[in-house]
Symmetry: C2
Subunit: 364 residues, 2 copies
Amino acid sequence: MALTERLLMGPGPSNPYPEVSAALARPMLGHLDPEFLALLDETCERLRRVFATGNRLTLPVSGTGSAGMEAALVNVVHPGDTGVVGVNGLFGERMAEVASRLGAEVVRVEAPWGEPLDPDALVGAHPSPAAIAFVHAETSTGVRNDVEPVTARKGGALVVLDTVTSLGGMEVDVDGWGVDVCYSGTQKCLGAPPGLAPFTLGPAAWERRTARPPSWYLDMGLIAGYVDGTGGRTYHHTAPVSMVFALHAALGVLLEEGLEQAWQRHEDCGRRLQAGLEALGLELLAPKDHRLAQLTTVLVPDDLPGAMTEADVRRALLERDGIEIGGGVGPLAGKTWRIGCLGHSARPANVTLLLAALAEVLER
Amino acid sequence: MALTERLLMGPGPSNPYPEVSAALARPMLGHLDPEFLALLDETCERLRRVFATGNRLTLPVSGTGSAGMEAALVNVVHPGDTGVVGVNGLFGERMAEVASRLGAEVVRVEAPWGEPLDPDALVGAHPSPAAIAFVHAETSTGVRNDVEPVTARKGGALVVLDTVTSLGGMEVDVDGWGVDVCYSGTQKCLGAPPGLAPFTLGPAAWERRTARPPSWYLDMGLIAGYVDGTGGRTYHHTAPVSMVFALHAALGVLLEEGLEQAWQRHEDCGRRLQAGLEALGLELLAPKDHRLAQLTTVLVPDDLPGAMTEADVRRALLERDGIEIGGGVGPLAGKTWRIGCLGHSARPANVTLLLAALAEVLER
C-alpha cells in the first residue's frame, strides 16, 4: 500500500517526531517485563517534569485525550457534587457533559466562543463547589483561558484542568499554579500519535477521590496499583505498550530540546503564522491578549476565489500540497479554519510553506 | 537505547506480525483525512469478517480489551437491570464488577477457576435477565466456555461475550451464534500491540442501548456518528491513528492466511505444546474437553530444582533465552504458569524452543 505523507497543521494530530515513529516499531515487550516497567517509570517521571509536578499519581491513561478528561472527572466527581465548568468552546462543553453524566450538578460559566473565560465568574459562580473545571487552551477557538487567577482563589474546590493543546507547547505549572487534576493528549504539542492521555492527580484530589467510580477502566485507585511501582505491580489492564514507547520517546525529544525552548519554538512559529495570515488580509478570531500561538483560528473570508467553499480550500491544500489544516467546529463550522503549529510540526519551514500555499489557493 | 527482543509466550501481548510493526511507523494521517477514513472503514470491514458478523456497528474501541468490556456493558446495562454474569476466572469476575458499578443487579453464576461454566446454570439463573455476560476463552485459566448452548436459549436477554483471547485464534461466529455484543483485544490472537478493543454490537442491543451512558468516551451512540461513514463523520474523539494502522495490518495478515488456517495453526501449536508439557511430566489445569489451545495453564510442580520458586523459573526463561511466559493470577497466583501460543507467536519453532528451554530450567 502506498504511504501518503502529510504535513499536519490542523488542530491535531501533528506529525510525530521521527524518534517517535521509530519507537513505535520497537520490539514488543510484555506489560510486566522489568524492562517495560522501567521504561514506564521513566515515562511517568518525564511526565512529571513536563507537567511541573511532584504528584506521585502521574501517568499516561490508556486512551485518547477525551479518556483523560473522563478519567479526571470520574475519579473526583461524586453524584450530587456541584461542579463549576467553564464553557467557551467545544471542550469546555464536553467537560460539562461528562460531569453531568457522572451525576454532578453542573454550574456553567460561559463566554462566547472566541472569548476567554472570566476568572472572577468561575470563582464566584458558586460559594462552595466541589470542583472547578475548565480548559487551558481551547482547541476549538484558539483561546487561552487564564489559570492562576482561578487556582489562586479556588478555596475548597478541586481544580480540574484540560491541557490537551497546551502541554509541551506553552507553560503548564501544575504544582506552581495549584491545579489538582490535569490531563492532556499526546498528539498535539507533545509530538506523539493520538492514543494516550498524560494525566496527573494531586494529593487533595486523591484524598477526595471516588472510592468506586462507575468506570472500572479509568479507576485511578486501581490503576495506581500497577503504575506506581512502590507498592508492587498489581495487574489492572494491559498497558498499550507501543504507545508508551512512543510517548517515552516524544518526551525524551521534548526534554532534550528543553521545555522553555519548545514553548518558545511554538510561540515563534505561531506568531509568525499569525502575522503572515494578517498580512494576507485574514482576520483572526481570538483576541490578541488571549490568543494561543500553537493553535490559530482564522475567519474564512467572504471573497473566496471562484465558487470555492471553505472545505474546497482545505481540500486544495490537502490534495496538491499534502497540507492538512482544520475546519471549524460547533458554531464556528464553516466560518473558521484552525491552523496548528504543534509539536514536531511547529517548524519555520512549515509556516513558510503553509502561508505560501494558502496565499496561492486564496489568490492573495 | 538498546532494544531487547523477547519471544512473548505469555497470556499477551504476543509478538506482533512484522507487517504490524511496519504499519505502526507509517506516516501519520489526520483522523478526518479521507485516506485515514478509508483505512478505518476497511479495518471495520475486516473486523466484521473476523467476528463473522454483518453488524454495522463494528469498530475498534480506543482503549485496551478492558475498555472493550466496559464499552460493551456501559452501552447496554441500565441501572437496576438484572445481569447474569458467568464467573470462572479473573475476566468473568471483572465483568461482574464492571456491571455492578454500572448499577446492575448482578446474578453470579460461578464455576471453580479451571472448570467451564455450566450453560444450563447461566440460562436458568434468572427468569428474565436483561443480559447474560460471560467470557469465551478465560485468559486466567485456559478454559473455554461454550457459547451456543447459552445463546440458543437466551430468550429476551442480550448476550455479551468476551472474546479477548479467542478472536482470531479459534472460531468466533457472532451472527451464527446469536451474540449481541462482543469485544476483543488486539494483543492476543490478532497479532497487534495492545491498545485497541475490536467491538461489535448487533441490532437488538442497539435498540435497547442506554441513551446517555455514564461514559461519554465509550458512548456508542456518539462513536457511531464518527465511525459509520454513511451518516457523515461527526467528530467524537481523535482516533488513535497509529494503532488503527497496526490493527488494519494485523487483520490483513490474518485474513490473507485465512481465518480457518489461523485457527488451525493456533490449535496445532497449542496441542503440541500441551503434549510436550505433559511429556515433561507437568500437569495442565483445564479439563481436556474445555482446554484452550492458544492459552495453556500449567500447574507448577512441587519439585522445582534447587530452591527455585515459580517466579525464578519465569525469570530464568526471560533472562537467558528472552522468553516470556506468564504467572498465575488470583487464586492461581504462584500455583500456575500461563503459556500462550497467540497470533504471530503461535509458530512451531517457538513451541520447540520453549519446551527445550523449560526442560532445561526444570531439569527434566
